[in-house]
Symmetry: C2
Subunit: 780 residues, 2 copies
């Protein structure tokens, strides 16, 4: 059904029918653009708040990016009607006519979306890229007459603008622009909103480089008694040259093309938001100079060769692209959740450590003097905490510690700990080290009389909002996560010779683990929490939400379970949470509101936090299994850990069920496998997810067992039992290191360089910019 292009440069889908919602995505510094293989599009640009320049047909609510976005006739799209001289009409890329095309390919490239289509002896190559520094879609169409006859074509690019405003919306043809300008006023009522409205890019530009025969800007006039699949305007010999006067705007142009046999023609168009007619004129220069946005950090990542082609493909070509997207876009928000911000920028540590450092300091500068991290990190002057960031969550401090741990191990830049930075609510400046200590103090303080972490209105699980709404409910997950944070902090303090505090936080870690073992162990796994009314949940007695993945994974990370407990947990997870499409976050999914627990139980069963294959949680679990392997020096869970990773990938054998191409890892696949099998596996198509950094980290530190520390490298691979070899290339302290792993009779580590010191699996002596080859033999 799909095909991976050479070298992972692209993914090619051969039908608009097999995975109708399969999408590709592009982005630049100012915008995100997602499009289905069939022609529907979602685009957001930042000004600095997220905004649209093409809308649906009704007055849409402002909302964050939603999973399983619904596409429908009338959805924003970029369509090209083609009318042949015999009046046959079809459309590129497929919508809205849905005419079967002789040949169809939808191709996600690294910086382009492309369609290669043949129909009626004409070859069409349609592609879109984004401008590098502004919100602007750059569309190009190459047409080749493959026949031996002269042909005449009418081409009607049709870019919907949609219902933008009840205050004022219109569109008109502007001859000087050779195109259409949609104009609207973002609706508002309060005078205090006017200064923002005044700045906003309330115009949509659509211009062509080729002569225009006719146009339409009124949706109703264009469609007439036809529908989107057969508009009156296209049936007619020319468009109606309509002007949308407080009507829903659309941008349709007619181009007449004559092609000799074998002749080729190229047309191009620009589409995007703009501020004024003058601004539109400036942008129109881009029709001549196409400067394409490219993901910045692709070459900074790792490269692997393993027996698993799907994994290689994702890790080498598509996951770094997704990491780059997160780093560069901050999920198209000006107030990313602190949790997301610190996890997304784990990727910056590998790809752009300078940016990673800056973002850590930015986050810490918004910490409260009491140690509490805020719900969201404000990226701009004037940004505000919105949506879920107005609900108090208890976990934000935790995420500092995995970040700092990875930053120190990858960069060896311990000086950051002594860097001073202020607070969100005080002019006082403290060192990063003091900030982190305060963060631990706060986590330690936010516990109940039993010593368990108070959940407030949610922890990592955003919508778990009623467990602790009266101020008493606690989270075992958060208690483990706090213990994990203390463990990391203790190790860092040990490295910096602060042995007294190191011991204290190590003790505190143990105390939390012991408390959880006493109060949270349910027999075969750990409970999720205890409600305000003192009821455990996430336990075997529960009919729904019996077992949650996160407390198990994070118990492993915090080193709470004995090996026997760990085995029980793994077995329970295998029997209760594993599905053919990945590991569910909880099971069984809730089918009705549980007021002891809250909003998460109201989400549709098997979606999002209510028991989907929530890949973010699955990636924690993979990482935790690999950490377990390291701590207990065992490889018994290697195969399961790999299965956890592998099951997050859309592959040729299951992509139709998932409905997604392997160009990204989505935030979830439908879970509730036993409850609602018909929907299980379906992708959310949402590429915003904390999964990608932890997935990458699991491959590096887990699968390949590469860990850097204080300038030295440890390699302890955890390959699945069926693999005989694998290799990875990675920057290690600035050096280019390739590590080849093979199975053999006797484990060993060797190198092609005499300058490296090797002791067991520890290697040191790397010099920046040099190249090293390391050979690792692991037991057969």
């Amino acid at each position: 059904s799909y095909e991976k292009g050479t070298g992972g440069a692209e993914i090619r889908l051969h039908s608009p029918l097999s995975m109708p919602n399969a999408t590709g995505y592009l982005w630049n510094k100012k915008m995100m653009f997602q499009m289905t293989c069939r022609g529907y599009a979602n685009a957001l640009h930042m000004q600095p708040e997220p905004a649209k320049y093409a809308y649906g047909q009704s007055f849409e609510a402002k909302t964050f990016m939603q999973p399983e976005h619904h596409y429908y006739s009338g959805h924003p799209g970029r369509f090209f009607y083609i009318k042949l001289s015999n009046s046959d009409i079809f459309s590129l890329p497929y919508e809205p006519t849905r005419q079967t095309l002789d040949k169809f390919a939808f191709i996600q490239g690294q910086d382009t979306l492309r369609w290669e289509i043949e129909h009626a002896n004409i070859q069409f190559t349609l592609r879109v890229t984004l401008a590098d520094d502004v919100a602007l879609e750059d569309w190009r169409l190459d047409i080749v007459n493959k026949s031996n006859n002269e042909i005449h074509l009418d081409i009607y690019p049709c870019f919907t603008i949609g219902y933008a405003s009840w205050m004022n919306q219109s569109a008109r043809f502007v001859p000087e622009l050779n195109g259409i300008l949609g104009e609207y006023i973002t609706p508002y009522q309060k005078a205090k909103d006017y200064p923002k409205i005044k700045q906003s890019m309330d115009k949509t530009l659509f211009i062509a480089d080729s002569p225009i025969e006719s146009f339409d800007t009124s949706t109703n006039r264009f469609l007439g008694e036809g529908h989107m699949h057969c508009p009156d305007g296209v049936k007619h010999s020319s468009l109606f040259n309509s002007t949308a006067l407080y009507e829903t705007p659309i941008a349709v142009l007619q181009h007449k093309i004559r092609l000799e046999p074998r002749q080729q023609k190229k047309l191009s168009w620009l589409f995007g938001p703009c501020q004024s007619e003058t601004h539109a004129k400036t942008l129109s220069n881009r029709l001549q100079q196409h400067i394409t946005a490219k993901p910045s950090y692709l070459k900074q990542g790792i490269s692997i060769q393993t027996p698993n082609a799907d994994l290689n493909h994702m890790i080498n070509s598509w996951l770094p692209r997704q990491l780059s997207y997160h780093i560069e876009s901050n999920r198209l928000t000006t107030d990313p959740q602190t949790r997301n911000f610190l996890q997304d920028h784990l990727s910056s540590i590998w790809l752009n450590p300078t940016l990673a450092k800056r973002n850590l300091l930015l986050a810490l500068s918004q910490q409260g003097k009491n140690g509490a991290m805020p719900d969201g990190i404000l990226l701009h002057e004037g940004a505000e905490l919105k949506y879920i960031n107005q609900v108090p969550h208890s976990d934000h401090n935790v995420w500092l510690f995995p970040f700092v741990e990875l930053y120190l191990s990858e960069t060896n830049d311990f000086s950051i700990l002594e860097t001073t930075v202020g607070f969100g609510d005080s002019d006082h400046e403290s060192t990063v080290s003091e900030h982190l200590e305060l963060a631990c103090d706060y986590l330690w303080a936010q516990r109940d009389h039993r010593g368990l972490s108070l959940i407030q209105q949610g922890d990592w699980c955003d919508p778990m909002n009623m467990v602790g709404i009266q101020g008493r409910g606690v989270s075992f997950w958060l208690t483990f996560a706090s213990a994990y944070a203390f463990g990391i902090w203790s190790k860092i303090l040990k490295t910096t010779q602060d042995t007294i505090r190191a011991a204290k936080w190590h003790d505190y870690q143990q105390i939390l683990n012991d408390t959880c073992n006493t109060l949270g162990w349910d027999g075969d796994w750990y409970a999720r929490g205890i409600t305000d009314d003192d009821e455990h949940f996430g336990i075997s007695r529960d009919q729904e939400g019996q077992i949650f993945l996160n407390p198990q994974a994070w118990a492993m990370l915090s080193e709470a379970p004995t090996p026997e407990q760990a085995d029980k947990m793994v077995n329970a997870i295998e029997s209760k949470l594993r599905t053919p499409f990945g590991y569910c976050m909880l099971a069984p999914a809730y089918t009705h509101m549980d007021e002891r627990i809250g909003r998460v139980t109201q989400k549709f069963p098997g979606t999002a936090e209510n028991g989907s294959v929530y890949n973010h949680a699955a990636s924690f679990y993979a990482y935790a299994l690999y950490q377990q392997a390291k701590i207990n020096n065992t490889n018994k869970h290697n195969d399961i850990a790999f299965e956890v990773l592998f099951s997050m990938l859309a592959t040729d054998s299951d992509c139709l069920k998932r409905g997604q191409l392997p160009n990204f890892i989505p935030n979830y696949y439908r879970g509730a496998y036993h409850q609602l099998p018909e929907a299980a596996g379906r992708s959310s198509q949402l590429f915003n997810t904390g999964t990608c950094a932890w997935y990458y980290r699991s491959v590096i530190e887990g699968l390949f067992g590469i860990k850097q520390s204080k300038g030295s490298l440890t390699v302890k691979p955890n390959l699945p039992s069926s693999w005989t070899n694998a290799s990875i290339s990675k920057k290690i302290f600035g050096a280019n290191v390739r590590i080849n792993i093979k199975r053999g009779a006797e484990a060993s580590v060797s190198s092609d360089s005499n300058n490296l010191q090797i002791e067991g699996s520890h290697i040191s002596g790397f010099e920046a910019k040099k190249t090293y080859l390391i050979s690792v033999i692991i037991n057969e």
Copy 2:
């Protein structure tokens, strides 16, 4: 193009093409239902906040009812696909197939919407009514085989449910209900919203009384590669029996019908919101007992016979229905603007004086102790000021006075003035009379150093929000309106023998009028206001917004202009504001933001407050012209006054341009006649409007010159010069009075009853429940 049914019982439109957005509407105590002739629908129910049970295809913003609502493929609708045995497919009422039908009629009745359709030798009568006391649509389809052959039909009622929630949405077939239940959870994030969510009717019911062959509840599965005009489900021999699992729901059923020659079959369905499956079962009983909501007050209104059939039709049949809708629905809000509430319930004074009294007391109970009326009247415990009611407006006190004036004259119930009622911000109780005195005091106090009324962030003109945003800008309209209020209050005080205060408020009225004449007269008309920066606007020097209708009309009401000034104003209005579709509110319409004036200038030129034929303002003008006539004892403006009234009606000669049937008066028609002639006249299709009460009042008090006062009646008709006769029947102090007016050589008033005392045009002595005939002769 349309036809008025006998006795005004219905209006019949014969084509779905001539006025595609022509709508009918129904309502009951719980809901409003509006439907286009083609099958698209808008429905809101109150729980008590307005809510939907059928949504568009995208996540829609919550908003108030908007003018010129955009309909599109995928818009909520009630469709019936019909498939004949030869596989031909068409749909009732017209959408979504848009197949040309042999015969088509869309009929607005008083309590029903109906379609009479013939196609393929089958006669279809489709009708919808509302249940009387719950939010429930009652659909019935009668089918008659008009041919001599047996026919087989597949009937697929297709009721879209749409995108209801990103948290949870689904739909399933429920055999016990013989129908479909859509289920969703209104999206929310904050725990404080949960109690409301919990109460909300988050289910949509669609049930049938006839056997069901198959069903679909998943929009995407039903449509497949077809579109709404030709869904895969309908093409297929049976529907797919799909269940929507976190997918956009739809309710489609298949019924198989066999009809002998001339045989008739009846099917019926119910559609509406419900709380639970149990609630759904209760509602399903309504399939057997159809109890239809009827407008309550139709028979309470006036009845007229005049030479103008369009006026008769509107006044006798459709305007009282629209008045009833306003009274009963409060515009589908729980916090009606004070201005709207007091004007809409002018109608209650004629139709239900008890309700009128209750609502006046309700409004006054929310007055501030400082005399200020709030921006909105809260109708329910827990209701909140929303949308525009969060912006401070300066005119709300004014509306008390026309209300009280009409209430006293119609009911002669002066005891209301001594009724005590509390305040919004105090437990203290005062008499209505004291409340009104306070309201005047407040209006008097809210003036600037020049003695002009401060506008704050808007007056009657909601979006005129920047004239006084710095606290200095003033409104001539509001100054006149305050003077008018003082004048009314003074007259009431005089009637109640409070001569000192009567004189005081009369003096204050004069002072305001004098100030306006000194500072506001522009040479041919009055200015609209003076900005914060001391600039007059609405004056001849302005390029846009040169003249506003309201200050002229209200200057007449407050008796400010001399007869010479009045003539100049009338002439200016005729030359600058009159259009073939009515009188514009201002001209020329603003084409860009004027920051001295504000948001009104950002609305699209010729729509709403920015220079449309805003019928509410036009009805003030008509009323004012008639008041002028009375004050100056002249009939020179009678023809213009009638033209103002008549031009608000859609008639056979212009309804295609207006795009509306004469079943209601819309809030506006497009203005900007000289600027954007192609759109001028287009109806907003919005039947929420303050117009209707003032229109009714203008007909009663103005055109017919009927004024009640202290138990006596005055009749001074102002018929247009071309009319030779007219008659009106009206309740006068509980008596049934018919007044026949004819032209004759000598003016006179006579009666068929010796018990009436007649002095000039004053008549007294009416006894409740008796019937009187009065004959009035006016000069030829």
